[in-house]
Symmetry: C2
DNA sequence: TCGATTAGGTTGACATGTCAACCATAAATA
DNA sequence: TATTTATGGTTGACATGTCAACCTAATCGA
């Protein structure tokens, strides 16, 4: 169905990603104690929500299922990184970064930046950047959502 | 430490990978019942070993830890995809694809090929291929292994 | 107004991964 | 030869993910 060379490209692409990504994650977790998920969540709470976000928005933003997020938040809560409380106005849950979470995040930012530069950005040419950007465009989710708001 | 745009590239690169890879894996698992790991293992047994490989070689080839492989093989054994038996000549374990594993693999190959073409190859330009290949080269593990054989 | 849906979350079971500890055998070295 | 050390694997505990079932509070339609 597909040629040797084509299969090669696939394998190279996969392992290249796994290598680079793995190095960044390793630096991050070793030097900050945060996983990529932890960091993503804290980052969004801090930047998009000034410290708090509704659980559902967080799920969308992370592109995670509600179940996955729920489990993850439970663990982060135990570690003291975030807290949860019911919304007042409507139903739903507010996720709030704790002060411990905030300082952990602040400490982590430079580490993460450094890791991304060292293991990823430093290797990119202009061509790579263009290639990455365009490929992402081309393969983007076909979000012409199936008739959600279509005039029946 | 790093600019908005640089962070953007990182995010785009990550999500682009996750999207494409996720689609391929989803097709594969839905249509064949195999995970990527399952397929990788069966594929290697079939191609590199004519049906059997030493566990350790398999681990290297998959770039997995021995622990991870051991756990995974235990599960695959339960499902009847592979079997294990001790080596005769030296110590160690032979991993052998069962006939059920072999037919499952044969059925899976075209599905996997199709998925890779549909979700990945079809979107690649010549430039992308060059970019992917070269970036992989540039970021390849610096395998000048730390003094394994260095003259003290 | 009442029943059916939808939205927002939680939970438990199970699959998958990681890590450190362990065990046995082979090889190297004192 | 006796003691280390390296090799090849297994195991158990625990972190992380997925899936389906469940619960409750809106909301929609007849």
């Amino acid at each position: 169905m597909i040629s040797e060379e084509e299969m090669q490209i696939w394998h190279i692409w996969k392992s290249s990603y796994k290598n680079i990504f793995g190095r960044v994650v390793k630096d991050m977790s070793e030097q900050t104690g945060l996983s990529e998920g932890d960091f993503g969540i804290l980052d969004r709470l801090d930047l998009y929500g000034k410290g708090k976000l509704r659980q559902q928005e967080l799920a969308v933003s992370m592109d995670w299922t509600k179940s996955r997020l729920s489990h993850h938040l439970t663990r982060m809560e135990k570690r003291g990184l975030v807290s949860r409380e019911p919304l007042e106005t409507e139903r739903g849950v507010q996720v709030i970064i704790t002060s411990f979470g905030k300082t952990t995040l602040d400490d982590a930012r430079p580490v993460v930046s450094m890791a991304i530069r060292k293991h990823f950005l430093d290797f990119l040419t202009e061509q790579d950047i263009e290639s990455i950007t365009k490929l992402a465009e081309r393969t983007k989710t076909n979000s012409s959502s199936p008739c959600k708001n279509s005039p029946s």
